[in-house]
């Protein structure tokens, strides 16, 4: 991460992906780079359709290709090029050293097998130990994720468990083989707030114990504030801002990040209307050529429409892809420009 002597667990560089072979179709995920070190948590934040889940599925090798097509970029997991692995090699890593938790715990568990069988299956597949030993370890995992009465739960079917309990089973399964990296896609979104708090603190404690690196995908900035070390803000397939969690919360640079933070109702005393981000996310067919946020950005100028802004590093790891950031420096001049534009329009 810091260019020091230990290499990151996962390093993604310049990753681009599209779902069509036709030329001229914009990349659905465009030039995405990030890295996570051992024991670290990277949060990828963004709204539906920003490409955060697709990126994680691609890294896990879980996207069917075609239609998905990697256009550019590399992803090194523990020094191995993930995109160069054969399906068999990938299958050995997946669920073992690299595992994933999905959002909806009901649809990601097999309803026809008991919890114990499902956890044990993954342990046996990767470690080649016998049935009884695997069951013993499955029980150990259920204890680890603090499921009450684990001995009896081992023989329970998914439908017999509550949502929070199922998500804990998913976590037990994902961590059963002590992965180096855990990708969690909205792991608490389907859960109630008290259960979410339980699951988050569980993930945090387990991570501290096992040193697992984590990529946590979420749309909830509260979850980010709670668990992230680093944050990548994604918009329409691009990382628009990246930094440490304090960079992001104390010094948000990109207008999208600013709008997003203003749009969240606060639990403190209420004050006025929420900030909004006008319009909606562009569909792949109408993806802007320049900055993809420009049509919704209150600061947008001509150059934002003409060309995509390059990544600019501000300090440390904090980087932003915006021509105008920080906005307070470019805004005063731009304000008069905007007023002029308005009066021109009035005359017309």
């Amino acid at each position: 991460m810091n260019g020091g002597e230990h290499q990151p667990v996962l390093a993604v560089d310049g990753f681009s992906l599209k779902f069509s072979r036709a030329p001229g179709v914009p990349n659905l995920v465009d030039n995405v780079s990030f890295a996570v070190g051992s024991g670290e948590t990277l949060c990828i934040v963004g709204e539906s359709g920003c490409g955060k889940s697709v990126t994680s599925l691609a890294l896990m090798g879980l996207l069917a290709s075609p239609p998905a097509q990697r256009v550019a970029g590399t992803a090194y997991f523990d020094g191995k090029d993930l995109f160069a692995l054969s399906e068999r090699e990938l299958a050995d890593i997946r669920g073992n050293r690299l595992s994933m938790i999905f959002q909806e715990p009901m649809t990601s568990l097999n309803p026809a097998y008991t919890i114990g069988e499902q956890i044990a299956e993954s342990i046996r597949r990767h470690r080649g130990i016998d049935r009884n030993e695997a069951r013993e370890q499955a029980l150990e995992m259920l204890r680890l994720v603090r499921i009450p009465a684990p001995e009896t739960r081992l023989d329970a079917y998914p439908h017999q468990l509550s949502g929070g309990m199922r998500q804990r089973v998913m976590i037990a399964m994902a961590l059963a083989n002590r992965p180096r990296l855990l990708i969690a896609d909205e792991p608490t979104t389907a859960l109630d707030v008290t259960i979410q708090a339980q699951v988050l603190s569980l993930i945090r404690n387990l991570q501290a114990e096992t040193g697992t690196a984590m990529v946590l995908i979420t749309h909830d900035l509260g979850v980010v504030a709670e668990v992230a070390d680093h944050v990548a803000v994604m918009y329409a397939g691009r990382i628009v801002e990246y930094g440490t969690v304090t960079d992001l919360f104390d010094d948000p640079q990109h207008p999208y990040t600013i709008g997003l933070m203003g749009a969240i109702p606060s639990v403190g005393k209420r004050e006025g209307a929420l900030a909004t981000i006008r319009g909606s996310v562009p569909s792949p067919e109408q993806m802007p050529n320049g900055c993809r946020f420009a049509p919704r950005c209150p600061f947008a100028e001509q150059r934002c429409i003409d060309a995509a802004p390059p990544d600019r590093t501000l300090a440390g790891v904090h980087r932003v892809a915006c021509w105008l950031a920080p906005v307070e420096q470019s805004a005063p001049a731009a304000a008069s420009h905007n007023g002029a534009a308005a009066s021109r329009r009035e005359v017309a």
């Binding site: 109630d192 708090a197 104390d250 749009a263 969240i264 109702p265 900030a275 308005a342 329009r345």
Partner: protein
């Protein structure tokens, strides 16, 4: 509103109870789900009243009973002082016009085979609010404009719209009957943050402009804090606390409310703290615990809680709490109050962001 006594609440629930199931089958009985149990409260005209709780607490069932979309097992509902618990026929239809609902899922609640014009126009036709087709179309166009959509959308179908737009359509339909009261059943929880903010702002503006009463059924505490005047906290079918929104968030009295607020994620990384998370899951509503229903998860549980159901106590300021020991708990301290620290840079940039956005809006309006 002028015809009724200003003291009369617009909507009142008295000991509302709803049980599902318990019907006899061939050899067995289906288990009875005690969804809502002895719930009473009054909603004043013009306020935003929130019902909050976790999934399975009975808040949606309660919302539906208030609107007479499902019938209660026991208890009564009063609308503007009139008992509507058993109303049928024409009076019920009139009621339907005045009390509307906005559903959670904008993808499931609009008929895919109808155009937007038909969806929004249906209540207008149904309640005879327009003399002819032209007038109805006019009214639909007005409604679409009110919720921030182009009138031209009337000829399109629901699948052509995004989630936020669909929720606006749902709101336009709810407004079509010129209601006095709207129940929002998780109206923004299926939406992305930026779209959610748009819809929240829209609901607030509409409420102001049209003098509506809003009942928000929701689980997102931040949304509730932002929108509501008073809040009822539900746990396993019962109201455990009812208070003004600021009082509730500043000094929650019931241990469940305290746990709920304590579970809200930090609003900034500087406020990370380890907090005592509520242990365990919601007990099954088919077998609610004895005494206080919260006792199985309550950190302050005492023997009395297992045996005796706490009565809802009304304090001098009108807030209500149903806990035997709320006074003792309060003295024990209920954790750090919620704060939302916002960095100076964010504050400055956000102000600039809003300023530029309204300048842009003004410029667009001027151009039109």
């Amino acid at each position: 509103m002028s015809t009724t006594n200003p003291r009369t609440p617009i909507l009142e629930a008295r000991s509302l109870t709803k049980h599902f199931g318990g019907t006899r089958q061939l050899f067995t009985r289906t288990p009875t789900v005690y969804a809502v149990n002895d719930v009473s409260f009054a909603v004043e005209a013009g306020e935003t009243f929130a019902i909050v709780g976790e999934s399975g607490c009975g808040k949606s069932t309660l919302g539906r009973m208030l609107l007479r979309l499902i019938d209660s097992t026991q208890g009564r509902v009063f609308y503007q002082g009139k008992d509507i618990t058993h109303q049928q026929g024409a009076p019920l239809r009139r009621l339907r016009r005045e009390m509307q609902i906005i559903f959670q899922d904008p993808f499931a609640s609009l008929n895919p085979g109808m155009t937007i014009g038909q969806i929004v126009g249906e209540p207008i036709a149904l309640h005879g609010l327009a003399r002819n087709g032209a007038e109805r179309r006019e009214r639909v166009a007005d409604l679409l404009r009110t919720v921030g959509l182009q009138p031209a959308y009337a000829d399109r179908y629901p699948h052509e719209f995004s989630g936020g737009q669909r929720q606006r359509i749902g709101i336009a339909r709810a407004l079509a009957g010129e209601p006095k009261l709207i129940v929002g059943d998780e109206p923004v929880s299926a939406l992305d943050v930026s779209v959610q903010a748009q819809v929240i702002n829209l609901l607030e503006t509409l409420k102001q402009d049209l003098g509506l009463t809003l009942i928000m059924v929701a689980h997102d505490l931040a949304v509730i804090r932002h929108m509501s005047d008073r809040v009822a906290v539900m746990y396993l079918g019962e109201i455990v606390e009812l208070a003004d929104v600021d009082a509730l968030f500043d000094t929650p009295l019931h241990p469940y409310t305290q746990a709920l607020l304590g579970a809200i994620p930090a609003s900034s990384p500087h406020e990370r703290r380890s907090r005592p998370a509520l242990s365990g899951d919601l007990p099954s509503p088919t077998k609610p615990p004895s005494g206080c229903r919260f006792h199985t998860r309550c950190p302050h549980m005492k023997p009395q809680c297992v045996q005796q159901r706490p009565v809802s106590e009304t304090l001098p300021d009108g807030r209500r709490v149903a806990c035997h020991f709320w006074r003792d708990i309060q003295n024990a301290g209920s954790g750090a109050p919620l704060s939302a620290r916002v960095s100076d840079k964010l504050t400055e940039r956000l102000a600039l962001y809003r300023e530029r956005q309204s300048a842009q809006a003004a410029a667009t309006a001027a151009a039109e």
